[in-house]
Symmetry: C2
Subunit: 242 residues, 2 copies
């Protein structure tokens, strides 16, 4: 009996996933775009993450592994870049992706253009939606965060970070696009490196920022579809010159 | 002597204007785009404007001339749509433009694509930057407002309104574009009619919203260049289908 109940649950989940996939396809009608349904994770905002600890050390005049990874004993080791959890892991930049997949169960998607479908946008802040995106021979971390910068007024912040060095990040441009209800919002920028803290990118507001009413206008039944594209910076510069 | 001083002042102003024009041209390098330098006006936010008065009446159950212009004694008369000042004027929709030009000294610009260069972005809220834009046989009102929705945290809100009816407004799409420091932000939407209050569009947040840090990233020496383009909605829909 338990077996049948579980099977039925799995089938229902599949139907739900298929329905959400269809909705996102309808929004981004370009054929061949990969749609990824991303479920929220309650953000452990107040937990002392490595990043926060590193920032505190930096304020106290101690070099932080987050902003100054040269200060780590082995200069080739970087701390865990997962924005969700406090994690004592550190390792080489090349193995950050497998650590994020295996330990933090962050999905990875292939493709130049994908659609990130964040579900349950109504959940209270702090909440994060995270995936990795593999493209142009590199891996990127996409973070959508619901956060209350001003008490009682949650906002959504979306940014893309390269799992690589700041110098490597300078070679790319990422684009986030929202398109619904006869409104379109596009944000294009150079990704930051995961060696910089995602928290500081968001607190600086140097990312796509949405207030709740705009997020609702762009959402469909509580889900927000974000079209993502990554190009090399040369293409971006050529466009700017046209 | 006074004559020479004034002449010298005028020449300095011209050089300053030319310099700002050059800066905006450098940002939006497309040839032939008209650049309009727009100076700020301190917004009389707390004055009982017709709009605010109309909204109070609406709350009290009285039909408001702002949201329900059918309720004006002569249904063809509309109140002054200037978002800056309380003004007792009312007239036909066709003469709103000449009223705004003559009484409120709001500049009007011709051209499908123009660059709106808002100066002195550092001025405290509430401040407005306003021009009219004549394009595709219609006139539009562009409003950039600096306002503190959350005390101590000023934000910038930009929207475009058709000086016409809501039905006419549905035929157009406007685009606002910021482009600087390897970042690009584009907002596309259907303009609202000036018969709706600009104040409610901004309080709903259904417009381009910039926090102070993003506004600084897009500004050049205290001036913010916004590229503006208006198209008919058919073009917009065709683009969305591609």
């Amino acid at each position: 009996m338990l077996f049948f109940t579980q099977c039925f649950g799995a089938v229902l989940d599949l139907i739900h996933l298929r329905f959400q996939h269809y909705k996102a396809k309808r929004v981004f009608s370009a054929a061949g775009q990969l749609v990824c349904v991303v479920n929220p994770t309650h953000s452990l905002k107040y937990a002392p993450t490595r990043c926060a600890a590193a920032q505190t050390s930096a304020e106290q005049g101690i070099l932080s592994p987050c902003h100054h990874h040269e200060a780590v004993h082995d200069p080739q080791l970087v701390p865990c870049t997962c924005p969700l959890f406090s994690c004592p892991w550190e390792g080489h930049l090349e193995v950050v992706v497998s650590h994020l997949r295996q330990t933090h169960r962050i999905n990875i998607l292939q493709g130049a253009e994908i659609v990130f479908l964040a579900t349950d946008m109504h959940l209270p802040a702090p909440t994060d939606w995270i995936i990795m995106h593999s493209c142009l021979g590199h891996q990127f971390l996409l973070v959508l965060r619901k956060q209350e910068k001003y008490e009682g007024h949650p906002q959504f912040f979306a940014t893309m970070m390269l799992i690589g060095t700041p110098t490597q990040a300078d070679n790319f441009t990422y684009r986030l696009e929202l398109n619904r209800n006869q409104r379109r919002l596009k944000w294009e920028a150079t990704p930051r490196s995961v060696l910089e803290c995602v928290d500081s990118v968001i607190s600086d507001g140097d990312c796509l920022v949405l207030n709740t009413s705009l997020a609702q206008l762009f959402s469909d039944n509580g889900s927000l579809a974000i079209g993502i594209a990554i190009t090399t910076s040369k293409v971006h510069n050529a466009e700017a010159e046209i």
